[in-house]
């Protein structure tokens, strides 16, 4: 082929461009292969078609919107019914189309509809819905809850409650978990720094330590017990006469070894533990133990999925 070309060129069959550089330097004018040329013309024609099908040129105050269209199903805000709609091609219509008919999304939609109408008992008993809760709930939890409660729901000791144990500040029943998610929670304990004298706070701290077996009962803890259960401290109002906490107040159970505000198990010496408790009693808890309300951010169905997901993490009663 090459030889053939050379022959042709030397025979003068191929024209030159007509320039002569440096006296005798000339340039052949070989035509482009025909197939290549036609492809090139084809792309030019295609680009014109493209302008009309898809949004393209700006024109005055607006732009050519194209006559491509996309159809999708959305739920009508006024009636709540699903309706078919067709709209011009753009990325937002494409999203709506994707949301209404991607294969795994239709499956998801079906299950979502099922969860939306079911109550908690029905979901907990239904194997298929529970499978759905575990897979979708994991994503929802990871995105919304894991930042505080950890990816596995383990929480952060001393800061954010562990959701996998059976200790619940605000209750672990389905309705209570639901309430916590929807409305949020705001943990509160009054500051006793101005109410109690330092030595009284020492005594109360000592008593609280004995409740979970962190310290042995003694004289100090007896004095603390009186303050705890008497009018002076009044701790029993919220933590209960048995110190097991009152869930409607979000008051902690003090008789177990689970600590959610001060990370007591992490502290080594009894003195450190006592100091940490005393500090807590002094300052109380005010605006530092907030669970945000999720009702404006999550749909009722998402809340349901998350409530069941949290329950099945292992700890709910």
């Amino acid at each position: 082929m090459n030889e053939n070309m050379n022959e042709k060129q030397s025979a003068g069959a191929v024209q030159t461009t007509g320039h002569a550089w440096d006296g005798d330097l000339q340039e052949y004018n070989n035509p482009l292969p025909r197939w290549w040329l036609w492809c090139f013309y084809g792309t030019a024609v295609f680009s014109v078609l493209y302008w009309f099908i898809y949004p393209s040129w700006p024109v005055g105050q607006t732009w050519l919107k194209g006559f491509g269209s996309v159809s999708y199903t959305i739920s009508d805000k006024a009636t709540g019914k699903e309706k078919e709609q067709e709209y011009r091609w753009n990325t937002r219509s494409l999203l709506l189309e994707d949301l209404s008919d991607a294969a795994n999304n239709t499956q998801r939609k079906e299950m979502m509809a099922k969860v939306r109408t079911a109550d908690y008992d029905q979901i907990l008993k239904d194997r298929k819905m529970m499978e759905f809760v575990r897979s979708v709930g994991k994503g929802l939890f990871g995105d919304n809850c894991a930042a505080c409660h950890g990816r596995g729901g383990q929480g952060v000791a001393g800061m954010y409650p562990n959701l996998t144990d059976d200790d619940w500040l605000w209750g672990g029943g389905m309705n209570q978990i639901h309430q916590t998610l929807v409305e949020g929670r705001n943990g509160f304990m009054p500051a006793f720094g101005t109410v109690l004298k330092p030595e009284q706070m020492d005594d109360v701290a000592e008593y609280v330590l004995t409740l979970s077996g962190e310290a042995r009962p003694g004289e100090a803890s007896e004095r603390g017990k009186e303050i705890f259960h008497g009018q002076v401290g009044g701790c029993y109002y919220c933590h209960g006469a048995d110190a097991k906490g009152v869930q409607s107040q979000g008051a902690a159970n003090l008789t177990d070894r689970i600590w959610t505000v001060v990370d007591l198990p992490a502290l080594k010496t009894p003195q450190d533990k006592k100091t940490a408790l005393k500090n807590l009693i002094t300052t109380g808890v005010n605006n530092t133990r907030i669970m945000p309300a999720w009702k404006d951010r999550l749909s009722p169905t998402d809340v349901k999925l998350l409530a069941v997901y949290v329950r099945q993490l292992g700890g709910a009663k």
Partner: protein, 244 residues
């Protein structure tokens, strides 16, 4: 003009090359200055308050945009993870916008209200203490540095020049009053910038330190407002498609 003439005249060729290659850019950029149809008609979007605005400055100063975008794209996976896609209207008062495409960390366009103030403070101070697997660096100095808000009004003046409706005159104030109500109109008034900033900081106490106004205060105030201005439950699912 003959081809040879252009090829042998480098200044002319340079000029013509520049003309040709700038056409592509101009066709794409210029219409954006006068086509307003793409800005969605939507309620609730307002300029940042002085405190939020200072928080935004700190966001830019610390280079948060190097790892975090603020632009949720209209794709199903983003819709499911982050919520409604971002609107042009939502960043109309951002100069410059913080859209970005680098997502070493998650998108922050709708992070407002997602976590408590306390979590934000703790997380900025030491991210690994709440998210052990995080690779985000620590920003402990935000709690140590007091916020410099002496020039809050000057900064608002500068933004006003770019078209952000901060009010300087009574007429402008009245317009904001009508549009946003008194509380916000006061916040957007350049003449009382410092006072408004202090007022919001004291009321909300974003950093958990009642006696101090730290840089953390401003940054958390900013983060907590991101993506919260538009109430999407008010609009039909298909409504926003008409602006594209």
């Amino acid at each position: 003009m003959r081809h040879e003439h252009i090829e042998t005249n480098s200044a002319l060729m340079l000029l013509l090359i520049m003309v040709v290659i700038s056409i592509g850019g101009l066709v794409e950029i210029v219409p954006l200055f006068y086509i307003n149809e793409t800005i969605e008609k939507v309620d609730g979007v307002r300029p940042y308050t002085p405190l939020e605005s200072r928080g935004r400055d700190i966001y830019v100063r610390e280079g948060c945009y190097l790892c975090h975008s603020q632009q949720i794209r209209p794709f199903r996976d983003e819709w499911l993870r982050y919520g409604h896609y971002s609107l042009a209207a939502e960043s109309q008062y951002d100069h410059p916008f913080q859209w970005g495409s680098k997502r070493t960390g998650p998108d922050l366009a709708r992070v407002g209200g997602k976590y408590s103030n306390q979590w934000q403070v703790q997380h900025l101070k030491n991210p690994q203490s709440v998210v052990p697997q995080s690779i985000m660096p620590r920003y402990p100095w935000l709690l140590e540095n007091d916020l410099d808000y002496a020039d809050a009004d000057t900064r608002m003046r500068a933004l006003r020049v770019t078209g952000v409706p901060y009010s300087l005159t009574q007429i402008e104030y009245d317009a904001n009053l009508k549009k946003y109500g008194k509380e916000i109109a006061d916040q957007l008034d350049i003449n009382q910038a410092q006072n408004s900033l202090l007022k919001q900081a004291r009321e909300k106490n974003f950093d958990g330190l009642p006696e101090r106004i730290t840089e953390m205060e401003a940054l958390v105030a900013y983060l907590q407002v991101l993506g919260t201005m538009v109430d999407f439950t008010k609009y039909d699912e298909g409504y926003f498609a008409q602006f594209r």
